[in-house]
C-alpha cells in the first residue's frame, strides 16, 4: 500500500524522511521527533494568545515536554487540556491535530486542525493535513478541496510533500470522475524511478475512467488496470516505444475494454494529434458511445480552426452526456465558430457555471463574445484569462 493511512504519510511529508513505501509501525514513533521539530519551521504562525488562563502555561510546557520526549499519548492528553483551557492557542491545536493524525485518530485530528485553521487561515500544511484526515474519514469532497487549497498555497514545496499530496489529489480526482485532471496529477510521478504498484494501478483506473479508489478494486481486475497504468506511465516518461508496446499488448489482451484506445489517443494528442485521432476513432469502434472520445475528436479540429469538422462529434457528445462540462464546451465552441454564436454562447455559459475556474471556458467565451460583437463581455473574459495565467508565465521562445 502506498501513502496510505497506516503509513502515516503526512508525517513523512513534513519530516521529509519517508521513502514512499510501507512504514513499519515502530518507525513512526522515532520519526515523530524529527517530524515535530520540522513542523515548527513549516508552520507560518504559531503565536500564543497574549493573555492566558491560570495554569495554562504549565499545561503547555508539560505538553511540549511530553511531545519532545515522544510520549505521544501523554502529549495528546496535555495538548487537549491546554487548548480547552485556552482555545486561542494556535500552536496547541496544531500539535494536537498532527499528533492525533499520527496516531490514526483522523476525525479528532481533523477537528483540531480545523480549530488551528480558523486561527491561522493561511496555514497550507494544516489545510493539506486536514485534507488527508478527511480522505481517511471518507469525506472525499472536503478532502479534495483542502488538499488542492493546500497545494495552491505551497504545501507541496518539499518533494516528499508533493508526492503525498499529488497522489491523494489524483486518487480523489479519479474518484470524483475528473479523470483528465487526475492524469495531470499522476504525471507528477512520471520520473519516479521506482513507482509503487498501487500508484500504477491507480493511474490505470484514472486512465480507463473508473471512479473508484484502488483499495475498492476487485482483485481479478488488478491486472487490467496495472497494465493500463504502466502504459500511461511509460508514455508520461517519454518512452514512446515502450508505451506503444504496452498499449498494443493492452489492446490484445483486453480488446473490448472501454477507454483503452481513448487513453492512448488522449496521451498521443500532445505530440501527434493525427495519431490521436486514429486511436480515438478506434475507441468509438470498440465503444460507440463514449462522450469523452467524442469530445476529444471535436477538440482536435477545433484547435486546428476546423469547427465544422468538430460539430458532429460535439453534438454527439452533448447528446450522450449533457452534463459533461467538456461536452458543453466543445458544442459551445463548435456552434459559435460555425455561425451560431447565440446557441454557442448559451452552452459556454452553462459550462462556466459548471467549471467557473476553467481557463478553456473563458478562452472560448472571449472568442464567442468577440465574434458576436459583445465587445465588453469579450474584454472582461480576456482580462480574466490574462489574470488566470499571470502567475505561470513563460517567455515566448521559438518562432
Amino acid at each position: 500500500m502506498l501513502y496510505s493511512v497506516m503509513d502515516a504519510p503526512f508525517m513523512g511529508m513534513i519530516a521529509g524522511t519517508a521513502d514512499g513505501k510501507r512504514w513499519s509501525s515502530n518507525r513512526v514513533a522515532g520519526i515523530l521527533v524529527a517530524l515535530l521539530l520540522l513542523i515548527f519551521s513549516l508552520t507560518p504562525s504559531l503565536a500564543t494568545a497574549q493573555s492566558t488562563p491560570a495554569g495554562f502555561e504549565e499545561l503547555a510546557a508539560d505538553a511540549t515536554s511530553a511531545r519532545e520526549q515522544n510520549d505521544v499519548s501523554r502529549a495528546i492528553e496535555l495538548y487537549g487540556r491546554a487548548v480547552q483551557s485556552n482555545p486561542k492557542w494556535a500552536d496547541g491545536w496544531w500539535f494536537l491535530g498532527s499528533l492525533q493524525y499520527g496516531n490514526g485518530a483522523y476525525a479528532a485530528a481533523r477537528d483540531a486542525l480545523s480549530q488551528y485553521i480558523d486561527l491561522t487561515p493561511s496555514a497550507a500544511p494544516a489545510l493539506a493535513m486536514r485534507g488527508l484526515c478527511e480522505f481517511e474519514t471518507g469525506e472525499f469532497a472536503d478532502s479534495l478541496k483542502d488538499i488542492q487549497r493546500g497545494l495552491s498555497m505551497g504545501a507541496a514545496n518539499q518533494p516528499r510533500n508533493g508526492k503525498i499530496l499529488r497522489y491523494h489529489e489524483a486518487l480523489l480526482l479519479t474518484r470524483a470522475g475528473r479523470f483528465e485532471e487526475a492524469l495531470r496529477s499522476f504525471a507528477f510521478f512520471a520520473h519516479d524511478p521506482d513507482p509503487n504498484p498501487e500508484l500504477v494501478t491507480a493511474l490505470g483506473l484514472a486512465g480507463l475512467r473508473v471512479p473508484i479508489l484502488p483499495k475498492d478494486l476487485r482483485p481479478d481486475r488488478q491486472d487490467l488496470y496495472a497494465s493500463a497504468g504502466k502504459a500511461a506511465l511509460d508514455y508520461m516518461k517519454g518512452d514512446d516505444a515502450a508505451a506503444r508496446a504496452d498499449f498494443q499488448l493492452l489492446f490484445e489482451r483486453f480488446p473490448t475494454t472501454p477507454n483503452a484506445h481513448y487513453l492512448y489517443g488522449y496521451l498521443l494528442y500532445a505530440t501527434d494529434p493525427d495519431a490521436a485521432v486514429v486511436e480515438l476513432k478506434r475507441e468509438l469502434e470498440v465503444n460507440p458511445s463514449n462522450p469523452a472520445a467524442e469530445v476529444m475528436l471535436a477538440w482536435i479540429p477545433l484547435m486546428q480552426n476546423h469547427a465544422a469538422e468538430a460539430l458532429p462529434y460535439a453534438q454527439k457528445a452533448v447528446a450522450e452526456d449533457p452534463k459533461l462540462p467538456s461536452a458543453q464546451l466543445v458544442i459551445g465552441r463548435a456552434l459559435s465558430e460555425t455561425g451560431d454564436p447565440k446557441d454557442g454562447i448559451e452552452h459556454l455559459e452553462k459550462t462556466e457555471l459548471l467549471q467557473p475556474d476553467d481557463l478553456e471556458v473563458h478562452l472560448a467565451l472571449a472568442r464567442a463574445y468577440s465574434a458576436a460583437g459583445r465587445k465588453e463581455d469579450a474584454r472582461r473574459e480576456r482580462l480574466l484569462c490574462l489574470e488566470m495565467t499571470k502567475n505561470e508565465t513563460t517567455l515566448a521562445l521559438h518562432p
Partner: protein, 363 residues
C-alpha cells in the same frame, strides 16, 4: 525528457496546442494554381509574390540574402559558425576547433531575418545561429540564446521533431501538410494562393468549364475576430498565446494577440480587422502615416457622428476617443516599435493604446 501533455480543460494544453494549428491547405491535383490565378486575379497575383509571406521559405537558388553575404561567421561560446555560399549552394558549418560539421542548407526560413532548417542523419535541426539584417550578420536564433551545447553535434542547432517540422512548413510553405502528414514532394516554398484560399484547385478546374460555384469562401467577409484567428494560425492567436502562458516583449511578434488586447478591439467591427490595415497581397507598408485613415475611421469627429447615427452600432461602438494631440502619424505614438529581448529584431506593437512614458511593456 519531461513530457507535458495537453488536456482538454487544462492550462497544461500549453505549448502543444498552438502547434496543432496549421492553415487551410489546398487538396487535389498538384498544380501551381497561382500561374492560372493570374488570368482572373491579376492584381493580387502580380503583387503577392513580392510579399514577405510569399518568400517566407526560400530555396538556395532563390535566396538573395545569402548570395549577398557569401561568407558569414560568428563565434558562440566554444563553437564557431560559418555560412558560406558559392553559386546556388550554401553550407552551414560549426566547429569546435578540432572537428567541423558541415551541412548543406536546403531550407531558408524567413525573408529578412533567416533561420535554417538543417538535416543530418535523418534528424532535423533549427540552426543555432540565424542571419539578422539589423547586424548584417549572424547571432543566436531567437529563443535559442540559453541553449548550452555540450557536444559539437548539439551545437548544430535545436533538434526538431516531426510535429514541429509540420508546423514550420505548414506556415512557411504551401501544400506542405496534407491529412496531417508532411509532404515534402508537394511542398512549394512560401505562402501561395491556396495556402489561405482553401479549395483553389477545384475552383480552378471548375472555372475552366465556367462553373464558379466552388470558388473559395471570401476571407474578406470574415469578422475581425475570425480573420484574427485565421491569420493567427501562423501569427499566433490571442488564445494560443494565453493558453501557452507566453508573456513579455517576445509576444510583440504575435500581432493577433497584441491587437486583441487593445481596448478598441471589437471582433465584430471590420474597422479593426487585420485586413482593414494590411492587404496580404501587397508588400507590407512601412510608412506609419499611411495607417492614419484606419485609425481615423473610428477616432474622428466624423466617425463618431456616423456611428452614433446608426442605431445598431451606436451602443457597440459608442464614441471612440478622439486624440487630443494629433490627427496624423497615430501609429508612431499608439503602436510603438518594440525590440525583442535579444535586441536583434524590432516589431510594431499591435496593442493599440495610450503609451505612457516609462511604463513597462503591457502584457
Amino acid at each position: 525528457m519531461r513530457r507535458h501533455w495537453p488536456f482538454i480543460l487544462s492550462p497544461l494544453l500549453a505549448v502543444l496546442i498552438s502547434a496543432a494549428a496549421v492553415p487551410a491547405l489546398g487538396q487535389g491535383p498538384q498544380i501551381k494554381p497561382e500561374a492560372a490565378c493570374v488570368s482572373c486575379h491579376r492584381a493580387q497575383s502580380e503583387t503577392q509574390p513580392r510579399t514577405p509571406m510569399a518568400r517566407a521559405l526560400q530555396l538556395p537558388d532563390t535566396n538573395p540574402t545569402l548570395k549577398d553575404h557569401p561568407k558569414l561567421a560568428t563565434r558562440k561560446g566554444a563553437y564557431s559558425y560559418t555560412v558560406e555560399t558559392r553559386g546556388d549552394e550554401s553550407t552551414y558549418s560549426v566547429t569546435d576547433g578540432t572537428r567541423t560539421i558541415s551541412i548543406p542548407i536546403h531550407w531558408n526560413f524567413g525573408e529578412g531575418a533567416q533561420t535554417w532548417m538543417l538535416e543530418r542523419d535523418g534528424h532535423r535541426y533549427e540552426s543555432t545561429v540565424s542571419f539578422y539584417p539589423s547586424i548584417n550578420g549572424l547571432d543566436f536564433t531567437t529563443g535559442d540564446e540559453d541553449l548550452k551545447p555540450q557536444t559539437l553535434e548539439d551545437a548544430i542547432g535545436r533538434e526538431i521533431a516531426m510535429r514541429e517540422t509540420k508546423v514550420c512548413f505548414g506556415c512557411h510553405a504551401t501544400n506542405a501538410v496534407s491529412n496531417g502528414k508532411m509532404k515534402f514532394e508537394s511542398l512549394r516554398p512560401g505562402v501561395k494562393c491556396e495556402h489561405c484560399h482553401s479549395g483553389t484547385s477545384s475552383h480552378l478546374s471548375d472555372a475552366v468549364s465556367g462553373d464558379f460555384s466552388s470558388a473559395p469562401a471570401s476571407l474578406r467577409k470574415l469578422s475581425a475576430e475570425d480573420i484574427s484567428n485565421f491569420c493567427g494560425q501562423c501569427h499566433r492567436t490571442w488564445e494560443t498565446v494565453v493558453r501557452n502562458h507566453w508573456r513579455g516583449e517576445a509576444t510583440v511578434r504575435f500581432q493577433p494577440y497584441r491587437l486583441a488586447n487593445s481596448r478598441c478591439f471589437d471582433g465584430a467591427d471590420a474597422r479593426i480587422s487585420c485586413i482593414a490595415c494590411h492587404d496580404p497581397h501587397q508588400d507590407i507598408v512601412r510608412d506609419d502615416k499611411s495607417y492614419d485613415k484606419n485609425c481615423l475611421a473610428c477616432h474622428s469627429a466624423e466617425s463618431s457622428a456616423s456611428t452614433a447615427a446608426t442605431p445598431a452600432s451606436a451602443t457597440a461602438h459608442a464614441h471612440p476617443k478622439i486624440c487630443p494631440v494629433a490627427k496624423n502619424d497615430c501609429v508612431s505614438c499608439h503602436m510603438p516599435k518594440v525590440k525583442l529581448p535579444n535586441g536583434l529584431m524590432t516589431f510594431t506593437d499591435h496593442q493599440i493604446r495610450v503609451v505612457k512614458a516609462g511604463e513597462p511593456f503591457p502584457n
